[in-house]
């Protein structure tokens, strides 16, 4: 196992390359999910009925 991670002495180069791909894939997937969530949040905000005046006055609006 240690042999595997040593990559014949090229561990720094091999794992920096593979590690970067892993990080980028993870970050991109997370970013796309976050973007979808934000898009739906904005959509929901634009559709939700405004709080009633009575609630707004007591500061109890959502």
């Amino acid at each position: 196992m240690a042999d595997f991670f040593a990559m014949g002495g090229y561990a720094w180069y091999v794992w920096m390359a593979y590690g970067a791909v892993a990080v980028v894939v993870g970050v991109e997937i997370a970013a796309v999910r976050a973007r979808r969530r934000r898009a739906f949040d904005a959509l929901r905000m634009s559709l939700e009925p405004p709080p009633s005046p009575a609630l707004a006055r007591t500061g109890d609006a959502r």
């Binding site: 180069y13 920096m16 390359a17 970067a20 791909v21 991109e28 979808r36 898009a39 739906f40 559709l47």
Partner: protein, 254 residues
């Protein structure tokens, strides 16, 4: 052609009918990408033998070649959607081009990054102003330019047209990257894989590259389709049909 088929194609080009299809395909290609990447990594990191001259540093090829191919290919696809968007003024084509740019930029960045970490142990340098490396850097800048241009223009329809023009003009760079190793005699080696010449590498190495390339394809399709769904929701907010996607009870939107 029966009218029902023509209707289907028109249906595909409208965001409302494309949205659920994009979701289903995105999921299917994500599963495929994970499977292929698993197989490809086992081949590339374990099964493929150590290279006689480069040692294990050569194993970077299994991510370098797929990301470099994808960076070029995604640009061509982006330019193609851009041409459709300009020619037919279709919203969904422009959204597809918009969704492709970030993934293309990341692929270009990864191709440069993995190339640097392969170049250092084999050529003795992380970077050189070699023809292929420089033209790939320009590819990255073109992607970033398309993304920046869109964010600089407020009206999405005008941004579509401006980005489409830039994407199409920038496509001239792709053949320059592809043929750079033939046109200029610089540091980067020629093609790793040729359809005409006899294979110059072990079959397991070739298999590893091809499986990893297929994984990169599936990943790109999956993530771009998921992004185009987000873009549809962002840009079609005024359209009534989007309401049906919202789950008001738990916030678990489709």
């Amino acid at each position: 052609m029966p009218p029902s088929m023509a209707l289907n194609w028109f249906r595909l080009s409208s965001p409302v009918s494309f949205y659920p299809i994009a979701g289903a395909w995105s999921y299917a290609f994500a599963v495929l990408a994970a499977l292929l990447a698993g197989i490809g990594l086992v081949i590339g990191l374990w099964i493929a033998p150590t290279d006689a001259t480069q040692g294990d540093a050569y194993r970077i090829i299994f991510i370098h070649v797929p990301t470099a191919w994808m960076a070029m290919f995604i640009y061509v696809v982006m330019a193609g959607w851009s041409a459709l968007a300009l020619g037919f003024n279709t919203r969904l084509s422009a959204m597809m081009a918009q969704a492709l740019a970030p993934t293309g930029a990341l692929m270009a960045a990864l191709a440069l990054w993995t190339g640097a970490f392969w170049g250092r142990p084999t050529w003795g340098t992380y970077w050189a102003w070699d023809a292929r490396m420089t033209s790939t850097l320009i590819l990255l800048f073109l992607y970033l330019g398309v993304i920046a241009l869109r964010s600089a223009i407020e009206d999405p329809r005008r941004a579509d047209r401006a980005c489409a023009v830039l994407a199409i003009v920038g496509a001239v760079n792709v053949p320059i990257i592809y043929f750079s190793v033939q046109w200029w005699n610089t540091l980067h080696q020629g093609s790793s894989i040729s359809l005409t010449a006899a294979p110059r590498m072990a079959m397991t190495m070739l298999a590893g590259i091809l499986v990893m390339t297929a994984a990169a394809w599936c990943y790109a399709i999956s993530v771009v389709l998921a992004r185009v769904q987000a873009i549809i929701v962002e840009r079609e907010r005024g359209a009534g049909w989007l309401e049906s996607l919202i789950d008001w009870r738990v916030g678990d939107d489709r």
